[in-house]
Every structure is written in structure tokens, then in C-alpha cells.
């Protein structure tokens, strides 16, 4: 037979325990005793016992710091964790993840299971969450009509959203049959045509929230055709109603505020629309005016008046051209005339006469020979600067 060491034994036992699902991830009911929180490390050590036996338990500082209450000796609790071996001492113990007080413990454990189940079934999926309508016509409230919750909702909506309508369905929020009553209320609000439904109760953390921690209510919320706002006032723990709802509000008043816009926003919205309408209308007017001006300009160019003016202008220009052309022409004529006159002057017979020649006429006809003259004929002699009558006395 082989000889083995103590360490080998403890390691072997540890591996066996670790692989045994019956003692891994378990919940154990018991009573706390010898509770110690180690001063320096923050680890928590205690013994969990029932009427017959006890087991050592340890909770490390990292998880112990997340406890929402301080455990103490004598407290009945449900502990979740796993069995492991403390090899140094050869002792098995309970390694604790969480401690739930037994009062709420039983329900708590069941609730954790329910949450896990619903989670798996997709009831809490954020993908399924619907937005709250921006301007609901009818807001449903499923709660006790004799409670504070409905009064708070009425107050908030009267002040913030008087334009809306509240459909308040009475529902029993605690005690026997409460969850059925809440489910029915949700269906009624939905049937009444509400476009958002507030489900909840007032009162706060000390109240009984079990009606809102049921599968029925979770499914009623999940299956509701319109968005649901949960208002199950509880600060730390979310109920399954909260988790299934499309939106979670810490109180009924807050739920009312989340369910509808404030009236001042509505006034603002109208103002904004007013301004946009005005701006758009003015832009259209501007564009039409511009087009009119452009058209009008085009039209003006074509108007008879304008054409007359243009024609007149052209006429004036032509007239001016004609005038200058005429003047130039006259000038040229004058110059030509003067030249010709000068040339004519130099050829004039009168000029010849001034050099001593004379012109002889007979019967007003210029004579260039004495051939036709006879004795006794009367002739006229022109000297240029004067003349004389003469009679022919001799001819040769």
C-alpha cells in the first residue's frame, strides 16, 4: 500500500468536493454564530448551525463588503456559496457569496430564482422596452384608489399635464389576490385605450411588495400592448415588475412625471411651431417678391413706353449723326467750290484783258477774225474794266 502525505489527502479531498455539484453553488439555511469580521483583512468568519450540526463559513472581504446588512449571532439566514477545503487545517467549510436574512430569506431565495427564470425567458430584455409616447392622450394608473399613490399621480398630472386624461383603475396592491388584481387592472387600462400605464403603489421600502414580485405581474407587464411605467417605491431592490416594465420610476409621483411632458414644454412647442411657420411663410413671400421683381424688370424692358423711349433715343442718335454728316458734306463742298473758283479765276479771260488784250463783239457775238467785218460795221470793244463802241473805217 502506497504511503501518501497529509497535503496529498487534503488536496485530493478538495478536488473531490470541488467537482461535486451537490455542494457547489448551493443555498444553505442556518443560524449565524461566532460571527467575526476580521479587523484588518475585512474577511468575515462565522459558524452556520441548525439544531443538530454546524459548519464553518467564511466570506471574503470583496463579497462581504457588498452585504446590505450586518449579520449577527443568532440571525436566521440563507447563505449561498460552495463547500471547499481549508487545506492548512484539513477542515471543510462553506465559502459564502451572499447572505440573505431568513425573514425575507425564503421569499428572497424564491425571488432570486424567479428573476433568473424571467431573465432567461427574456422578460427583462432591454430590446423589448418601448419608449413612452411623447404626448399620451390617456394615462392609465393601476394602483389602490384609496392609497397615496393615486393622489400623487393626480396632483402631478393636474399640474404638469392637465391636457391629458387619467384612467385610474383600482387594484389591490397587497394581500391575498393582489397580483391577480394588478394583472386585471393592467388589462383594464389597456382595454380602456390608455397609451401608457403606471403600475405601482406608494409607501416605500417597508411595504409589502410581493404582489409586484410575481411571475403573473411580470408577464402582464411584458404582454401589455402599451408601455408600462413601474412605480413600486423601493430604493435598493428592484421588483420583477420594475425589471419587466418599460421604465422604472422610484415613486408614483416620479412615474407621473415620466409619463407625460410638462405643459410648459407644450407651450414652448407651440411657440417654436409658430416661429417656424412665420419664418417659412416669410421665406415663401420673399421668394415670390423676388420673382415678381425679376419678372417686372423683364416686363418693363418690353413695355411700349420703354420701347418708345429707346426708339426716341435711337432717333436722336441718328439725327445727330445725320447732322454731323451733313455738316461735314457741306464743308467738303465748300472747300471744293473754293478750289474750283480759284482755278476758274486763273483761267478767266478778264485776267488776260488786264494784260492789254481786248475782246471784240459784233451783234453780241465774240469775233476772233476780221473776216466777217466790213467798212461801216459797228463793234463793241471790251477792255475788261470798261468798254467802247467803235465803227470800222478800214479793214485788212
Amino acid at each position: 500500500m502506497p504511503v501518501i502525505t497529509v497535503t496529498q489527502i487534503n488536496k485530493y479531498i478538495a478536488s473531490i468536493l470541488k467537482n461535486d455539484r451537490n455542494i457547489q453553488g448551493i443555498m444553505v439555511r442556518g443560524e449565524i454564530s461566532d460571527y467575526v469580521r476580521h479587523f484588518r483583512s475585512g474577511h468575515v468568519y462565522f459558524t452556520l448551525k441548525d439544531s443538530e450540526s454546524a459548519v464553518k463559513a467564511v466570506m471574503f472581504a470583496s463579497t462581504a463588503s457588498r452585504l446590505r446588512f450586518e449579520p449577527e449571532d443568532g440571525m436566521a439566514v440563507i447563505v449561498s456559496g460552495s463547500i471547499g477545503v481549508y487545506e492548512r487545517d484539513g477542515a471543510y467549510q462553506l465559502y459564502v457569496n451572499d447572505i440573505i436574512p431568513e425573514g425575507a430569506g425564503k421569499a428572497g431565495a424564491a425571488l432570486e430564482q424567479l428573476k433568473k427564470k424571467l431573465q432567461k425567458e427574456g422578460i427583462f430584455d432591454t430590446a423589448h422596452k418601448r419608449p413612452i409616447p411623447p404626448m399620451p392622450k390617456k394615462i392609465g394608473a393601476v394602483t389602490s384608489l384609496s392609497g397615496a399613490a393615486v393622489r400623487d399621480i393626480i396632483n402631478v398630472l393636474s399640474r404638469r399635464y392637465p391636457i391629458g386624461e387619467l384612467y385610474a383603475v383600482n387594484a389591490q396592491v397587497q394581500g391575498e389576490g393582489a397580483s391577480e388584481s394588478v394583472c386585471k387592472g393592467i388589462l383594464k387600462a389597456e382595454a380602456a385605450g390608455c397609451d401608457v400605464i403606471i403600475v405601482g403603489r406608494g409607501g416605500g421600502s417597508s411595504e409589502d411588495l410581493s404582489a409586484f414580485n410575481t411571475e403573473k405581474v411580470a408577464y402582464a407587464i411584458y404582454n401589455c400592448k402599451v408601455p408600462v411605467i413601474s412605480a413600486v417605491g423601493h430604493e435598493t431592490d428592484f421588483t420583477v415588475a420594475d425589471l419587466a416594465a418599460d421604465l422604472r420610476a422610484p415613486t408614483p409621483s416620479a412615474a407621473a412625471e415620466l409619463s407625460a411632458p410638462d405643459i410648459t414644454l407644450l407651450y414652448e412647442k407651440i411657440s417654436i411651431l409658430d416661429k417656424r411657420a412665420e419664418k417659412a411663410a416669410l421665406a415663401i413671400l420673399d421668394r415670390c417678391t423676388e420673382r415678381f421683381i425679376a419678372m417686372n424688370a423683364k416686363l418693363a424692358v418690353q413695355s411700349p413706353e420703354n420701347r418708345l423711349k429707346l426708339t426716341g433715343e435711337r432717333l436722336t442718335a441718328l439725327d445727330r449723326r445725320r447732322e454731323t454728316a451733313f455738316l461735314r458734306y457741306m464743308d467738303r463742298l465748300e472747300r471744293q467750290l473754293a478750289e474750283k473758283a480759284a482755278r476758274l479765276d486763273s483761267l478767266s479771260p478778264l485776267k488776260v484783258l488786264s494784260r492789254g488784250y481786248s475782246l471784240v463783239y459784233k451783234d453780241n457775238k465774240l469775233l476772233n477774225s476780221s473776216e466777217k467785218l466790213k467798212k461801216g460795221d459797228r463793234i463793241t470793244v471790251n477792255f475788261g474794266n470798261g468798254g467802247a463802241e467803235a465803227e470800222i473805217t478800214e479793214k485788212w
Binding site: M135, L145, Y167, N170, A171, A277
Partner: protein
């Protein structure tokens, strides 16, 4: 019809009018007509808000369980 239109009807229609005006490619006459309608709607909306008071319907719920 105006008397029956809800606030939401009115403000929705007002929004439509604004969008249509903002498109811009409409005749001036139509624009004037739409703008006029918008002014009326906006006034109606304000009046509705001014005079609004929360309408409350109470449903006794489970008291009548045969529903």
C-alpha cells in the same frame, strides 16, 4: 370640426402645416392659406392648454369582477 379636435389633433396638424410651409415649393396663395390655418391652430392649442383640466376616470376595478 374645430370644436371636436383634440389638442393633439391640433398640434399635429400645426406641425404638418409648418413642414409643408418649410418645403417652400408651394404657391403664395396656398402658403397664405396654410399660414392662416396655422395661426388659428396655434391659438386653439394655447386656448386648450389654458383651459385644460385633467380628466379623471375612476375604474373601481375588481369590485365588478364579471368583466
Amino acid at each position: 370640426m374645430k370644436g371636436k379636435a383634440t389638442f393633439e389633433d391640433n398640434i399635429t396638424r400645426l406641425g404638418q402645416i409648418v413642414s409643408e410651409l418649410e418645403k417652400g415649393d408651394i404657391a403664395l396663395e396656398k402658403a397664405v392659406e396654410l399660414y392662416g390655418e396655422g395661426v388659428k391652430l396655434s391659438a386653439a392649442c394655447r386656448e386648450q392648454l389654458d383651459n385644460a383640466s385633467l380628466k379623471i376616470t375612476e375604474d373601481s376595478g375588481n369590485a365588478t369582477s364579471e368583466e
